[in-house]
C-alpha cells in the first residue's frame, strides 16, 4: 500500500472512531414551553447531544454569545440539536424573551 493510501486509511479510521465515540453519547432533550426551558437545568457529559424542541406558540432561541452558541430562530414545533464538545457549564438565554434562561452542566 502506498504511504498516501496508508495515511488516508489511518485518517478514515480515526474519523470513524471519533464519530463512533460521539454517536455513543447520550441524547438529551429540553422542551421550550410557556416561555421557559424545561428542565431549566440539565446535566450532560462531553459527547452528549441536546435537542431543544419548541412546543411554545412563539419562536425562541438558545444563545450564549460568549461561547458562540447560537441556535438562530427556533420556530414553534421546530428543534435544534447541539453536541457538547468540551467541559464547562453553559448558561444560555432566549434572545427574544428577557428573563428566559437555562443551564447545561457539563461533567
Amino acid at each position: 500500500m502506498t504511504r498516501l493510501a496508508t495515511r488516508a486509511l489511518v485518517l478514515a479510521a480515526a474519523v470513524a472512531l471519533s464519530q463512533g465515540a460521539l454517536a455513543a453519547g447520550k441524547a438529551h432533550q429540553v422542551t421550550i414551553e410557556g416561555i421557559k426551558f424545561v428542565p431549566e437545568r440539565i446535566e450532560v457529559a462531553v459527547g452528549d447531544s441536546i435537542t431543544w424542541i419548541n412546543r411554545d406558540l412563539v419562536p425562541h432561541t438558545v444563545t450564549n454569545a460568549a461561547k458562540k452558541i447560537e441556535s438562530g430562530t427556533i420556530e414553534p414545533n421546530g428543534k435544534w440539536r447541539y453536541v457538547v464538545r468540551r467541559k464547562g457549564d453553559i448558561d444560555y438565554v432566549c434572545r427574544f424573551h428577557p428573563g428566559m434562561r437555562g443551564t447545561v452542566d457539563v461533567k
Binding site: 414551553e33 416561555i35 406558540l57 412563539v58 414553534p76 428577557p98
Partner: protein, 173 residues
C-alpha cells in the same frame, strides 16, 4: 392623559365585557383573540418604523413576531375546529380603542412616541391578561380553544414584563 383614558375605556370593555353581557361564544372568542393579536402587530409595525430607541424597536419587532406566530396557530386551530371568528361588542371596542391609539401615536415622535407606545403596551397587556383570566378561559367551550388560550398566557405575561422593564428605563432617561 387623554390617550390613556380613551384606551383605558376601550380596554375596560374587554375585561368587563362579560360582566353585564353573556359570556362570549367560541366563535366570538376566536374573533377577540385574532383581533387582540392583530392590534399589537399593527402597533408594533408603527413603533418599529417610527422609534429611534433600539430597545423599543427590538420590543416592537418581538410583538410583531410573537403575535403573528400566535395568530397563525389561532387561525389554524379555528379552521381545524370549523369555528369561524365572529364579531362581538368586545371585538368592536378593541378595534375602536386601537384605532384611537394609532391616531394618537402617529402624531408623536421621539421620546414622546416611545413613552406613549410603551405605556399603551403595558396597559394593553394588563387588560388582555385580565380578560384571558376572567373571560376568555372561563368561557371557552371547546377544550382545544381553551388550551390554546391557556398556552398563550405566559407569552402575554412575558410581554408585559418586558414592556414594564422598558417603561422603567424610559422614565429614568
Amino acid at each position: 392623559m387623554r390617550t390613556l383614558s380613551v384606551t383605558a375605556f376601550a380596554i375596560a370593555a374587554l375585561a368587563a365585557g362579560a360582566a353585564h353581557a353573556q359570556a362570549p361564544s367560541d366563535p366570538q372568542i376566536a374573533g377577540i383573540v385574532v383581533t387582540a393579536n392583530q392590534i399589537d402587530i399593527d402597533a408594533g409595525k408603527l413603533a418599529k418604523s417610527r422609534s429611534k430607541n433600539k430597545e423599543v424597536q427590538a420590543f416592537a419587532n418581538q410583538m410583531i413576531k410573537d403575535h403573528s406566530a400566535v395568530n397563525k396557530q389561532a387561525v389554524a386551530l379555528a379552521k381545524k375546529l370549523g369555528v369561524k371568528p365572529e364579531a362581538s361588542d368586545t371585538q368592536a371596542s378593541l378595534k375602536k380603542g386601537a384605532s384611537e391609539n394609532m391616531s394618537n401615536l402617529k402624531k408623536l415622535k421621539g421620546a414622546a412616541f416611545d413613552k406613549a407606545y410603551i405605556d399603551h403596551e403595558v396597559a394593553y397587556h394588563e387588560a388582555v391578561l385580565d380578560a384571558i383570566d376572567k373571560t376568555l378561559i372561563p368561557s371557552a367551550q371547546n377544550a382545544e380553544l381553551k388550551g390554546l388560550i391557556v398556552k398563550v398566557r405566559p407569552a402575554f405575561v412575558a410581554h408585559l414584563d418586558h414592556a414594564k422593564m422598558i417603561q422603567g428605563k424610559l422614565e429614568k432617561s
